[in-house]
Amino acid sequence: MTLQWRIEDNIGWLAINQPPANTMSLEFFRDFQEAIQIVEHTDGLKALIIHANGRHFSSGANLDELLDHVDEEVMLQHYNAFLHLEQLGIPAISAIRGVCLGSAMELTLFCHFRICSNEAVFGFPETTYNLMPGIGGVQRFSKLVGKAKALELILHGNTFSAREAFEFGLIDAIVPKHELLTFAARFAKTLPLNITGTDRRICLQKYLNPLNAKINL
């Protein structure tokens, strides 16, 4: 399986399991759709944490495979799977370390919260390949960080650091690498059921402040 699923203390842990790069292949997207259905049908979950095995979150889609099978229907299925994640009715948190690029950025943009380690690196490299984000990245990113910043980063295509990402509001908290998953778990447990990320900033102020000591700014 390209994904691993486990439950601990009513928190669901979904791990991308294609190390080292955790490339999001077509097989991954099919597995992801199934995984989200499993999450949906698991009773009593308080939150979902999406993370990755290995040093990196994910380098994004498999470009060669994608260009060999350009299919609008399939892309919309990917989008629907991400949308399904967003609409599960429980908070989804992505815990990101290492590289998080392209489609992986898009996946995190459908989560309600994004937590990363201090060495995480982000980017939309699509334009470097004469492409653009295609699974909601343009829509979600511009809503989250504003049109100007979205334009700059999507068109430029260069990577940016955890600190930059925090400053313009992509990332909700930065923690030391070895504390990423324990922080994510503790954060998930402080959230009540059924937060639908309508105002994640308010959620954060309310629920993250008591943990301020652990946020490495």
Binding site: E72, M132, G134, G136, K147
Partner: protein, 250 residues
């Protein structure tokens, strides 16, 4: 190239540059400060990948010519015609499928701020000053400012800026989201130019156009429709790219 009074246009490294030139204040004599047809002619040049609007000399623009506006009230139809023409021009700037950037040094008031709000990105120097002073003359912004400003900075801040008529300094403007990037004193143009280069260098126009279209959809279509169109645009680019690679035997 056709001469437009008080305006200059040039293309440097694929970046179109419109300079408001009536220094020192760069006052706008007409709301339609560039004839719409002329604007389209300039921008339709295939090589233009981004547009910067800036002011000649020290300031961006102090806005419209009040005397001229009051003079035109003798002919209300003419006044309305001029305002509508100005609005159409700003709409055209906002509708561009290449990034438009306002590079704001020092004074950016009234009509000047309306132009800046019509751009996709606002870069201001740290000594920039922005305001809608219309209310001090018992007027209001008339080129879309009352609609664009709340979209950009929210209703409550926009109410304060428009009804207060007070001058907003660059750092306050940055923190309320009225400007997107702060540049060093008097260096808004340099910042805007390097930003424009960074965004467009090595990027085919059709990639830029597709992303701009998708960004626009985010503001104008329902999330579902916008999403479908993002996927459509992506697939269009992907098919092009796959073909290009085949041709080049990559």
């Amino acid at each position: 190239m056709t001469h437009v009074p008080n305006i200059s246009f040039e293309i440097i490294n694929d970046i179109g540059i419109i300079s408001l030139g009536n220094p020192p204040s760069n006052k706008l004599e007409q709301p339609e400060f560039i004839p719409l047809e002329q604007f389209h002619e300039w921008i339709q040049d295939e090589s233009v990948k981004a547009l910067i609007i800036t002011g000649e000399g020290k300031n961006f623009s102090s806005g419209g010519n009040l005397k001229e506006i009051f003079h035109q009230t003798q002919d209300p139809e003419r006044l309305a015609f001029g305002m509508n023409a100005g609005k159409e021009l700003l709409e055209a700037i906002n509708d561009l499928l290449i990034p438009s950037i306002a590079a704001i040094n020092r004074v950016c008031f009234g009509g000047g701020l309306e132009i800046a709000l019509a751009c996709h990105i606002r870069v201001a120097s740290e000594n920039a000053l922005l305001a809608f002073p219309e209310i001090n003359s018992n007027l209001m912004p008339g080129l879309g400012g009352t609609i664009r400003l709340p979209e950009i900075i929210g209703l409550s801040q926009a109410t304060r800026v428009i009804l207060g008529g007070d001058i907003v300094n660059a750092s306050d403007a940055k923190s309320m989201g009225l400007v997107d990037f702060l540049a060093q004193k008097d260096h808004a143009f340099e910042y805007a130019f390097s930003l424009a280069r960074k965004m467009t260098i090595d990027r085919p126009v059709k990639v830029i156009n597709a992303i701009m279209k998708s960004l626009k959809n985010a503001a104008t279509l329902s999330p579902t429709e916008a999403m479908k169109d993002e996927t459509r645009l992506f697939c269009m680019l992907a098919i092009n790219e796959a073909e290009r690679r085949k041709m080049e035997g990559e």
